[in-house]
């Protein structure tokens, strides 16, 4: 007999999301992930000054605004004809701002979004809001070890705040920084800012090395069955990110399930809409040509997310994709970090494709980024420019592809008459949490859920632990709407 589990809302993620799983004899046979909020960012951008996209698109997401600021700036650099002319200081400061928010986001994700699935806050603090109500029955860490993890939940609140403080040195303020603009950044590097940034960074690095990574290892050791749960599509996608004068920290590429590298080309991205509330005639297009017409009467549709595919295939984006990408491409620092972690956990490379693999990759990535930031700071040249002048062209196109904490993010712009004619965004969560595509292939999160054994359907820990391991960001993903078609018909969400 089959049973249906609905979890709506999925909490402790960014945004509004629901999950539905059909169980047969306790095993998930089918799964649906859906976004449940819709704002219409791309239509709001139409007709505006292109430079405003740099500020407005950050407001897609308050957790990862810098990823949008970065993608938008790269996109505008190209459209304004200054890509390749951004001064080294500008590139480095952009990377430092993005890096600071990576650290903030990863620490927030593990401690404040995910830990309550594994750590018994009630056991340490008593029954109080917001730690109740909750799922019951599978908290495996107790006593001092548990109390210590709860203490780290609290310490991590301070550390993530300090990441934002560090960011504001070059970004002006956070959330929603103001420093990144087409052509570079508005803040100049000075010796005092560099030193101030460095020592804040050192405190955060100390936390990553001595608290965050050991805590992920401790959770992994108590929940080691989760190295075999939430495997997913095993096809990894990275656009590459942190655009530095001497190349990117994260390499781009598609990694197949048997760990073979395929070079990435943005022309191979298409977006299907068969199971999304958009008109079918727009299905299968590249984002550079894509249009978005809602069709909310579609019977087979169940999500506001489209289904991005690479050469028609489902891909996973995020820290795991980046770390596997760098690993397969022989990046020495990545290889050393991943190999030593796998040795400590007594796991093979294949165990990375799992709930715990994603958490481990995220923690190791935090270390890789934080340690690299020390090098970047030393490459800054006080007294030299951080921005180059640019002008809005009458007509132009641009694309900006980079990495957000949650994975590959891309912005595409068309400018006509010095105004935004068309703006498209594909977010990492669209890659991960997409619905089934035109060929019926489930999205990455859906694939990770399908086949999972759920021990207790009233407390389906497995489902929420899988979903949260992807660090979904729904505000990022559900931003499409064409307001020219206002008649929406009957709107029924599953």
């Amino acid at each position: 007999m089959s049973t249906k589990i609905k979890v709506d809302p999925i909490t402790r993620i960014e945004g509004h999301m629901a999950i539905e799983a059909v169980l047969d004899a306790g095993v998930v046979k089918d799964a649906r992930s859906a976004g449940t909020l819709f704002r219409g960012f791309e239509i709001i951008l139409q007709g505006r000054d292109p430079r405003d996209a740099n500020r407005l698109t950050q407001r897609i997401c308050g957790v990862c605004p810098i990823a949008h600021a970065t993608a938008s700036a790269l996109c505008l650099d190209e459209a304004f004809g200054v890509d390749g002319k951004v001064p080294d200081n500008g590139k480095i400061i952009r990377a430092l701002i993005l890096g600071a928010n990576f650290l903030q986001s990863h620490i927030l994700h593990f401690y404040h979004l995910v830990a309550l699935d594994y750590v018994d806050a009630v056991g340490a603090l008593g029954e109080l809001y917001p730690f109740v109500p909750r799922y019951e029955g599978d908290y495996r860490i107790s006593g001092n070890a548990n109390a210590e993890l709860v203490n780290h939940y609290v310490t991590a609140l301070d550390i993530r705040r300090k990441c934002h403080e560090m960011l504001s040195i070059f970004g002006g303020k956070m959330p929603h920084e103001v420093g990144i603009v087409p052509g570079g950044v508005t803040e100049k590097p000075t010796e005092d800012k560099i030193t101030n940034f460095l020592w804040r960074l050192n405190e955060i690095r100390d936390f990553i090395d001595n608290t965050y990574i050991p805590d992920v290892v401790a959770v992994a050791k108590s929940y080691d069955d989760y190295f075999g749960i939430g495997i997913g599509c095993k096809r990894m996608l990275a656009y590459g990110g942190f655009h530095l004068p001497n190349g990117k920290l994260f390499k781009s590429g598609i990694i197949s399930p048997d760990l073979k590298l395929e070079p990435f080309a943005k022309e191979n991205i298409t977006e299907d809409v068969k199971h999304s509330w958009y008109a079918d005639r727009d299905s299968g297009k590249n984002p550079a040509q894509g249009q978005t017409k809602p069709d909310l009467a579609k019977k087979q549709a169940y999500s506001f997310l489209k289904s991005p595919r690479y050469k028609g295939k489902v891909c996973e984006a995020g820290p795991l994709a980046r770390m596997v990408g760098n690993y397969v491409q022989g990046d020495a620092k990545t290889k050393q970090l991943v190999d030593s972690a796998l040795t400590e956990l007594g796991a093979g490379v294949d165990a990375l494709f799992s709930v715990l693999g994603r958490h481990a990759a995220r923690a190791l990535e935090a270390k890789l980024v934080a340690d690299s930031m020390v090098d970047w700071l030393q490459q800054l040249k006080p007294g030299e420019p951080a921005i180059i002048d640019s002008e809005i062209p009458d007509q132009a196109e641009g694309a900006g592809l980079t990495e957000a904490p949650r994975g590959a993010v891309g912005h595409w712009i068309t400018i006509k008459g010095k105004r935004i004619d068309r703006y498209q965004v594909i977010t990492p969560t669209a890659w991960n949490a997409s619905p089934k595509d035109d060929n019926g292939q489930p999205g990455a999160v859906e694939q990770a859920i399908i086949g999972t054994k759920v021990k207790d359907k009233d407390n389906p820990f497995e489902l929420v632990r899988i979903v949260r391991s992807f660090d979904p960001c729904l505000a990022c993903s559900v931003h499409l709407l064409d307001a020219r078609e206002k008649t929406l018909g009957v709107f029924k969400v599953v």
């Binding site: 609905k6 979890v7 709506d8 809302p9 909490t11 960014e14 509004h16 629901a18 449940t36 909020l37 819709f38 704002r39 709001i44 505006r48 000054d49 405003d52 407005l56 407001r59 997401c61 308050g62 957790v63 605004p65 927030l108 979004l113 309550l116 806050a121 603090l125 809001y129 917001p130 730690f131 109740v132 109500p133 909750r134 799922y135 203490n151 609290v154 609140l157 993530r160 705040r161 934002h164 403080e165 504001s168 970004g171 002006g172 303020k173 956070m174 959330p175 929603h176 103001v178 420093g179 950044v185 508005t186 803040e187 100049k188 951080a386 929420v464 709407l481 307001a483 929406l488 969400v493």
Partner: protein, 298 residues
């Protein structure tokens, strides 16, 4: 361990249940409040914020442990059992087109519970409502032209439904954590009626003076020394600064524990606490004249 003494139940502690709803927004307001320094977010969650008075965060989708229908039940229970005794915080605008179906916060008895429905239900019976951030105070970006989802502010929704619960507006994209914490402090210390609000229901304590009045680049303006592009020295008026009609204490308070703020970083003020944000304050990097400002004709 940090979590001691203060969070154990003292009989004389007055607890204020808080329901925090997220509408059409980006979670940036919540993330900004996480950056609170004194008290820190852990104090807001676990300790008496002012002696004898404590918040109890019963519903916040990004923070709370639970998920699915049990957390949706918390909303109804609070509304029924703590009638007139809880604080409602709304972050994000309220989509009202198509019966509110553009935004749902979960399911109740198999049906979507829309943001609009939950704001109306919980607003009706709250002690007071704090509209946090520019989306919930004035509509903000989701309500920007052409406002595809019919987004409205909390005040507009309340007026439409004749909900009389007082609304305190704490705008900003995002709001400074001190603006929220300070507003809560006044409420806990002296009661909501002690809040001195301007004509847009903003506490004058934080929104009482123009950015321009206290701007460290004011001397440049007076001398006629203007920046030609963002990042230049000089007053940023010609590159779009909205500080001459934006009411907030950013220049004095500064952001992220007082480290920096928009103008200090070489960026024009975007006017993000004002009702015209972003339509009347765009283009962001172009000088705007008073005649351009529909928001001033209020």
């Amino acid at each position: 361990m940090i979590l001691t003494a203060q969070n154990s139940a003292k009989t004389e502690t007055k607890k204020y249940p808080v329901i925090w709803l997220q509408g059409a927004g980006c979670t940036g307001c919540s993330v900004s409040i996480l950056n609170a320094v004194s008290p820190r977010i852990q104090n807001l969650l676990l300790d008496e914020v002012v002696p004898g008075h404590q918040l109890s965060l019963m519903f916040h989708a990004t923070i709370m442990a639970g998920q699915g229908e049990p957390v949706i039940e918390v909303l109804k229970d609070t509304e029924k059992n703590r009638k007139g005794g809880y604080i409602l915080v709304v972050e994000g605008a309220i989509p009202t087109a198509e019966g509110g179906l553009y935004g749902s916060i979960g399911q109740r008895q198999g049906k979507h519970l829309t943001i609009q429905q939950s704001v109306e239900e919980l607003g009706q019976n709250a002690l007071l409502t704090i509209a946090l951030g520019t989306c919930s105070t004035f509509g903000g970006i989701p309500a920007a032209e052409p406002n595809p989802t019919g987004c409205k502010s909390v005040k507009e929704v309340f007026q439409q439904r004749r909900i009389l619960t007082p609304v305190v507006n704490v705008p900003g994209c995002p709001p400074h954590p001190d603006w929220f914490v300070g507003t809560v402090s006044v409420i806990l210390f002296s009661g909501a009626e002690a809040l001195d609000l301007d004509d847009l229901s903003r506490p004058k304590l934080f929104y009482g003076h123009l950015i321009h009045e206290n701007c460290p680049r004011r001397a440049d303006f007076d001398k006629g020394k203007f920046a030609e592009k963002p990042g230049d020295a000089g007053c940023l008026y010609k590159v779009g600064c909205k500080g001459h009609y934006t009411y907030a204490d950013c220049p004095l308070r500064q952001w992220n524990s007082g480290l920096n703020w928009c103008v200090k970083a070489g960026s024009p003020c975007l006017g993000c606490v004002e009702p015209g944000f972003p339509d009347d304050t765009s283009p962001m990097y172009e000088r705007i004249t008073f005649e351009d400002l529909r928001c001033l004709q209020r």
